[in-house]
């Protein structure tokens, strides 16, 4: 069964603006990960946040995690056209043997 649900499904912004994507999940987790997928390519790992962390930064990326609400957000600051892609959150299955992905948010950044 699906673990993560991203919101919004699609997001269109201008270069330089910030983009925020949200993810909700259902069961307890060890960590939550965000991945990017460019059109026609494989998924690429962006950032991992552990269940005992509340916020994490990596370059222009900021991830927050609220385990009480079972939700996470990914913020991309000062977006660029190259950030155009689909973004997925993923959590480990209850057995911890596989990552289960949400449906993704498609981000379009126009110049």
């Amino acid at each position: 069964s699906q673990q993560g649900e991203e919101d919004p499904q699609a997001l269109s912004i201008q270069e330089g603006e910030n983009a925020t994507m949200n993810c909700s999940y259902k069961t307890s987790i060890n960590n939550l990960q965000w991945y990017r997928q460019n059109s026609g390519r494989g998924l690429v790992h962006l950032i991992l946040i552990r269940s005992n962390e509340r916020e994490k930064h990596s370059g222009r990326l900021r991830v927050t995690l609220d385990t009480s609400k079972k939700s996470s957000s990914l913020l991309i600051t000062a977006s660029r056209a190259a950030d155009t892609a689909s973004y997925f959150c993923a959590t480990a299955s209850p057995a911890g043997t596989a990552l289960i992905f949400g449906k993704g948010t498609t981000l379009s950044v126009s110049s």
């Binding site: 991992l48 480990a92 299955s93 043997t97 596989a98 990552l99």
Partner: protein, 112 residues
């Protein structure tokens, strides 16, 4: 060097045929996966192998058979292809330290 490589990248075939997709990783990981991504970009786990042993087998028709000759390879064989099998199939390996997945570029299967 490509970390996770899959072949072929594109596969077009007729219903009823049998086809295989190959996957190799040079990262030294013990665990490998097959995921199926449908036309709406939904990714579904199909199989997982750890050091050549099957550890996850989701509800997948038994027309799909994974094979792992060694821990660096995980191939997917599909018998009697159906229209609904059309999708992009991704191979991935996992870095056990963090659970981070490394994906191949995908194999787009089109069944006519």
């Amino acid at each position: 060097d490509t970390a996770v490589s899959q072949t072929p990248k594109y596969l077009v075939t007729q219903m009823g045929n049998d086809k295989s997709i190959k996957c190799e990783q040079n990262l030294g990981h013990d665990t490998m996966y097959w995921y199926k991504q449908d036309s709406k970009k939904f990714l579904k786990i199909m199989f997982s192998y750890n050091n050549k042993e099957l550890i996850i087998n989701e509800t997948v028709p038994n027309r799909f058979s994974p094979k792992s000759p060694d821990k660096a390879h995980l191939n997917l064989h599909i018998n009697s292809l159906e229209l609904g099998d059309s999708a992009v199939y991704f191979c991935a390996s996992m870095w056990e330290n963090t659970g981070e997945l490394f994906f191949g570029e995908g194999s787009r299967l089109t069944v006519l």
